[in-house]
Symmetry: D2
Subunit: 110 residues, 4 copies
């Protein structure tokens, strides 16, 4: 069975439903931001174990970079939903902005 | 004209094309993570101006929370792409995990 | 017995001795920065439990903001030591810079 | 002239005086934490330019890792002062904790 890929917009709606059903409503923005940094910190640890100098606690410990990216995306979508931000639209704006900003920078340095 | 919403998977592919065309290829993971924290720091500043105690530099300065969420999503997708992570799948795993973990917590406290 | 307070410079030296004795030497800078963000994430969680909307896992769980500030300072000193930065001197530069930058900002807004 | 090094405790007091004179009092804790992440983001950018894959905007741009460590220490001291935390004491607790935790880890892996 081929699973249909969902739009980012649809995923934002699913997080919204989740927040209202399980999460007890949105937190205030600086609380949601703290939660985002908590998730960023967990991603940092996993990246540092796999790519950096941090030793794993034990041989059996699995590095879970993939799991932490999901948690971080969840935290980001919560903030976006609170401010009614369309992440697809913003991502595309960022891509256009970076293309404009970086087009000279990379030519010079590489 | 109604604009078709794109899947998160499709957006990950667009970032991949962008990285190869403009960005000079993926950076190493800890460099990409540093870039993510740089974007998180810019989001922090905007949130702090609008929601917290930080004064704006001038009256004319616009708070750009929406723009910073796009930049942060870009940085996250770069890391996910590097490790070939399907963010839609991981987000759904996170939702299931949080639902399981939080279902008792919120009943007690609210 | 009155305990003599130590200089920040002396504390930087103690961290240096610690790193060479127990820590196996300094990590590379982006690994040390990831460790700093891991500690910042733990501080975020504690602040969010005490000051924000995040519920504690259980009634028995103590909020350890003080412990996390120590861990974060350790991570910062590691980076400073690696680059032979005198943190006392830099802190004083920051205080002078902020005083200059903010002296007009706060008069207007408060 | 030999400049006397000041204790971390004394530096915490100087930040406290600064906050009351120029800063308009302490912000709320999650605002101060956002400011800390803003500073961490600026440190990330400088480290990434010097040690990672991020290109500098121009040849003339100086990398200011030292300046950013001062700003980050300021942000951390603000949080510590708000909660009346003695950072020297906490740093020493962290050193003891890490020594205990890591003493087996590093023997095995190196």
């Amino acid at each position: 069975m081929i699973k249909k890929k969902e739009s980012l917009f649809e995923l934002q709606k699913q997080v919204d439903e989740w927040i209202n059903r399980y999460g007890g409503g949105y937190w205030n923005p600086l609380s949601m931001f703290s939660a985002l940094i908590e998730e960023a910190g967990e991603l940092a640890r996993e990246l540092n174990c796999q790519q950096g100098n941090k030793p794993k606690k034990s041989e059996k410990e699995n590095v879970r970079i993939d799991e932490e990216t999901g948690d971080l995306l969840f935290a980001l979508i919560c903030i976006a939903n609170y401010f009614e931000i369309d992440l697809e639209q913003q991502l595309k704006k960022s891509l256009r902005k970076f293309a404009q900003r970086d087009k000279n920078r990379y030519k010079k340095t590489r």
